[in-house]
């Protein structure tokens, strides 16, 4: 704590130091009368002290929503979004992923979560006018090994997925070089990764996207049912670290979550998300849900690509014949809505058409 930052009467500073109050946090955490008692200063002095320290802590000036809308606030950038690499998916999200906050992608296995995350890792590397952030990504794997072959395949076919970007721009980006893969096998190594290694990459401007695939694996395994409180504590701390990273470096954080079966009445609690018609619910409970800015759920439908969009299915680059849905469960600026998408050889594409049935 820097007493030079604040303009205070030297007698006040001296009294505060003598009272062993060392940080701004302590000055603000103590009540007026308590501070008076400790420092033996008058009421007016203590009041002035707290206000001066408060002004030193909250340095950003008040901003109006109009200034924010016009993009006049450098510290709260809201217009730039990270594109998903597909115009249909972007329009579901009103432009893409916001730069500040945690976005969760929850879904059953083979729904396409990892595919979407890989596509984001590629999309972030494009110039801003194509919806990217001109930097790489950190991909933290906690479950299986990272599918490097698939990533290479995707990056070699970017020109097919993104025809609107000039070929020379696509060629100039060495996609695979800018994606940093980290492995974390347990909660401790995950925490050390996001508190030590990831900030270094972020502060050097090498990456502007952090993907955690997945958070469920670690938190569900290491904590038994009776350790609910301990798990909640770790989840809260983890979420707080991610939030502070996101805001320090204006970087979106994407977390992949698993789903579990919704079992009878025990999930009356979970039904508080308005997801009553779902057979599966995201794991990790309300503690984790409270930390999220946006929750997306992906799932496989019963529609096969052949039946529904035979024209599309005939094309050589459609893998996996089932159509999937991406649903917005909650977001501050989006209604509950969904769209269909497919996973093809060159990536994930949204589908605008509705099924005939």
């Amino acid at each position: 704590m820097d007493w030079d930052q604040v303009e205070l009467n030297p007698k006040v500073v001296h009294a505060v130091k003598r009272a062993n109050v060392k940080t701004f946090r302590e000055v603000l955490s103590l009540s007026g009368p308590d501070l008076q008692r400790l420092t033996k200063l008058s009421h007016a002095d203590v009041h002035h002290l707290q206000k001066t320290v408060a002004a030193a802590v909250q340095t950003d000036p008040a901003v109006t929503a109009l200034q924010l809308y016009r993009g006049e606030c450098p510290f709260l950038e809201q217009h730039q979004k990270l594109s998903l690499g597909c115009p249909v998916l972007d329009s579901l999200l009103r432009g893409g992923i916001p730069l500040l906050g945690i976005v969760e992608i929850a879904g059953e296995s083979s729904a396409g979560k990892t595919q979407i995350c890989m596509q984001l890792c590629l999309s972030v590397q494009y110039p801003r006018k194509y919806g990217g952030l001109e930097a790489g990504a950190v991909y933290i794997c906690t479950e299986d090994t990272f599918p490097t072959k698939r990533l290479q395949q995707l990056s070699s076919l970017q020109h097919k997925l993104r025809p609107e970007v000039p070929a020379d721009v696509v060629k100039s980006i060495t996609f695979c070089d800018n994606i940093y893969i980290e492995h974390a096998g347990d909660v401790d190594s995950l925490n050390s990764c996001i508190s030590k290694r990831v900030p270094i990459l972020l502060s050097r401007g090498l990456v502007r996207l952090v993907v955690v695939d997945s958070i469920a694996a670690l938190f569900r395994c290491e904590f038994e049912a009776k350790d609910a409180l301990l798990r909640a504590k770790h989840l809260l701390a983890f979420g707080a670290t991610l939030h502070s990273l996101s805001h320090r470096f204006k970087t979106p954080i994407v977390c992949v979550n698993q789903v579990a079966d919704a079992v009878g009445d025990f999930d009356l609690v979970q039904s508080n998300f308005g997801l009553l018609d779902k057979k599966v619910l995201p794991t990790l409970g309300i503690t984790w849900s409270n930390q999220l800015l946006i929750r997306l759920m992906v799932s496989r439908t019963r529609f096969s690509l052949q039946e529904w969009l035979p024209g599309l299915a005939a094309q050589p680059w459609h893998l996996g014949s089932v159509v999937r849905t991406m649903e917005v469960v909650f977001a501050p600026h989006l209604p509950q809505s969904f769209c269909y998408y497919t996973v093809s050889i060159d990536g994930v594409r949204g589908v605008k058409e509705e099924p005939a049935s």
């Binding site: 002004a55 909250q58 916001p98 609690v269 018609d277 409270n290």
Partner: protein, 365 residues
């Protein structure tokens, strides 16, 4: 006033001790002295003596003594004159006795995605509705701790509110008021503060009184959410309780001294009962006493409900609501006898009921 004890004044403890041990026990003993005399007698510095004399000589009105007595009727009239901020959901407004009360603190609890931030944004726009439309014509302060304040949503809600007022404009007074009630002015009168942790929130609360004095037109202060910064990094829960209590006190004081409605949002947490788990508001039992009124938003199946749980003046009630592209609204049941109306434009401002057939929203819902 002359009989007032020296010990009851707000001097620094050391100064008080010196005055009392020098024999000055009441205000009368001090007020006729000169600063140099007082400082010599009591053994305090000239500066301190001067401050003491200034304080003692101030009239009772300036000493911040208890306010002059009011009758209960006068209090009631004062309260009603303060007004309320409507929510645009008439069922909820009715349950609240008009809307969110100015001069008091209201807590809004709910699970993620149920609509707390949506309601807060709606209130921040509604506080600005001009008086002739039944609003307060004030400004709003929004303190965001979670990062969920996205300006594009505010634009949606503001546009819908302005459109609604435009559609119900009847007389010249309203037409004139509309000149200064546009989406741009609404955005320009919404002040945003961003707090990333509890220290910043504490700091912001210390700075708020001065800000409100400089901006006397502010009628609403929203803190979204108060739970988020307090739910982690507290090994010592008693410290957290103390900080939250202090914050609650400061906010209650701010609400009444500056005539603003203070709205706080809280998260929900799971409480494990004997054989079932329940969702309860976060931040602990003692926090339950912090706000004057408590509103809990919850799901029942696919429908959303707002329950008024704690209020000194209103009955407990549960009403349905929905979130539309236009904001926080009533749930309108379809009436087959009338031409289908746009269900997202239902609020009755100022109790002026418009026949349903007239409500038309040019834009898509």
């Amino acid at each position: 006033m002359m009989q007032r004890d020296v010990a009851s004044f707000a001097f620094a403890p050391a100064v008080k001790v010196r005055l009392i041990s020098a024999g000055f026990l009441t205000a009368k003993d001090i007020c006729d002295l000169r600063p140099t005399e007082l400082s010599k007698e009591a053994g305090i510095s000239q500066q301190e003596a001067l401050e003491v004399l200034q304080e003692v000589r101030r009239g009772p009105a300036e000493q911040g003594a208890a306010e002059s007595r009011l009758t209960a009727l006068e209090l009631l009239e004062r309260e009603q004159a303060l007004g309320t901020v409507i929510t645009f959901c008439s069922a909820l407004d009715q349950a609240l006795g008009g809307g969110i009360p100015v001069g008091k603190t209201t807590e809004i609890c709910g699970a993620p995605g149920v609509g707390k931030t949506q309601l807060c944004i709606q209130l921040a726009v509604d506080a600005q509705i001009p008086g002739c439309f039944g609003g307060l014509g004030g400004q709003a302060v929004y303190i965001d701790t979670e990062g969920s304040f996205l300006v594009e949503r505010v634009v949606d809600v503001a546009t819908a509110a302005v459109q609604h007022c435009t559609l119900i404009t009847k007389d010249t007074e309203q037409r004139e008021a509309l000149q200064s009630f546009t989406v741009e002015t609404v955005l320009s009168q919404l002040f945003l503060f961003r707090c990333h942790d509890y220290v910043e929130l504490l700091a912001q609360t210390h700075l708020l009184p001065d800000f409100l004095s400089q901006h006397p037109k502010v009628r609403l202060v929203v803190i979204d959410s108060i739970a988020f910064p307090f739910r982690h990094s507290f090994e010592d829960l008693s410290l957290r309780t103390r900080l939250l209590n202090g914050l609650a006190q400061q906010l209650t004081q701010i609400a009444s001294q500056h005539s603003v409605a203070v709205v706080l949002t809280n998260q929900m947490t799971t409480r494990i009962g004997q054989n079932q788990s329940m969702l309860v508001p976060a931040l602990g039992e003692s926090w339950g006493h912090a706000a004057t009124q408590r509103l809990i938003l919850h799901w029942e199946g696919k429908h959303r409900f707002a329950s008024l749980y704690k209020s000194p003046s209103q009955r407990e009630a549960t009403v349905p609501y929905q979130i539309t592209p236009h904001g926080f609204r009533d749930v309108q049941l379809p009436d087959p006898s009338v031409t289908p109306a746009d269900p997202s434009l239902t609020p009755s401002l100022n109790s002026r009921k418009r026949p349903r057939g007239e409500e038309g929203d040019p834009s898509d819902a």
